[in-house]
């Protein structure tokens, strides 16, 4: 089950790590922030144009439909506009907004009716009675991705497979492996324990490995 976001509107710097923006970007963001706090109307649009692409890309990554991503985009900027005067600058503006975007995505996922989710149990490693690893035969291993696939096809296959995962596992995988949050940060964002993050991440990676086995053979 997807837990409630731990900080709905105001992710703190301790929860969302700095994202390594350059000094130039930070200076631009500082100026933009000053302008927003001064209530300059044109700066709101500038903010949406400057950071909107990253907000939209993040929303598209976490949400499965374009309509949801667009709604999340609106909700994110509404929260940003409402909260801009409370932003304490313990992280960069873009990091703060990324945290809000992810929280908005998680809230939306949580509100949605639970999808019919496929169990990943059969995709996990199996062991014999002595604890030795047994490789499960992948049902599609011989089902032939016989022709060579190009990079974009490969990326698309990987994204499709990530999207088929149950949300519990998919979200941990996205936060840790794709967005680069630490285990501790991921636990704080999802409101779960660190050990639960590790367990879900290992299961998610193992399941994805199973799903990608036919193409892994090709790319190794």
């Amino acid at each position: 089950m997807v837990m409630a976001p731990s900080a709905v509107n105001h992710p703190s710097a301790s929860e969302f790590a700095e994202d390594g923006d350059g000094q130039r970007t930070n200076n631009e963001e500082d100026q933009l922030l000053e302008c927003l706090r001064a209530g300059d109307e044109s700066c709101y649009e500038k903010l949406v144009r400057k950071l909107g692409p990253r907000v939209l890309a993040t929303a598209r990554r976490y949400l499965r439909s374009e309509a949801d991503a667009a709604d999340c985009f609106q909700d994110t900027f509404l929260v940003v506009f409402e909260s801009i005067n409370k932003f304490e600058q313990r992280s960069s503006l873009s990091t703060w907004i990324r945290g809000i975007t992810i929280n908005q995505c998680l809230m939306r996922i949580r509100k949605q009716a639970r999808r019919q989710e496929q169990s990943i149990e059969h995709m996990l490693p199996i062991f014999d009675e002595h604890g030795d690893r047994i490789e499960a035969a992948s049902p599609r291993q011989s089902a032939a991705i016989s022709k060579l696939i190009d990079t974009e096809q490969m990326r698309s296959i990987v994204r499709q497979n990530i999207n088929t995962m149950p949300d519990d596992h998919r979200l941990v995988l996205l936060l840790r492996d794709i967005d680069g949050y630490t285990t501790k940060e991921t636990a704080a964002i999802l409101g779960i324990k660190i050990n639960a993050v590790k367990t879900r991440l290992h299961r998610a990676r193992s399941a994805l490995r199973y799903l990608l086995e036919p193409v892994l053979e090709q790319t190794s």
Partner: protein, 83 residues
Amino acid sequence: MLTCKEFDEFMIDYLEDGLPVWQKFMCWLHVKACRECVYFIQQYRRTIALGQDAFESPDVAVPDSVPEDLVAAAIAHRKGNNI
């Protein structure tokens, strides 16, 4: 020596160098002796790399701009809510 099943439970911490010395040594010993687990680790690492690469695609990477209707709606939304 650890079994493959026991090693699997430590694997995530082993690969991130997050184990105490003794457990790390036990895992290292297992990996030295187990071809199946070495193969699994190779595929596991490749899977992580493919996952990261999958979102570098132009069709899912950060776009150059946002559709105008989304920008306009965000600004209108702000005005509508008197923020």
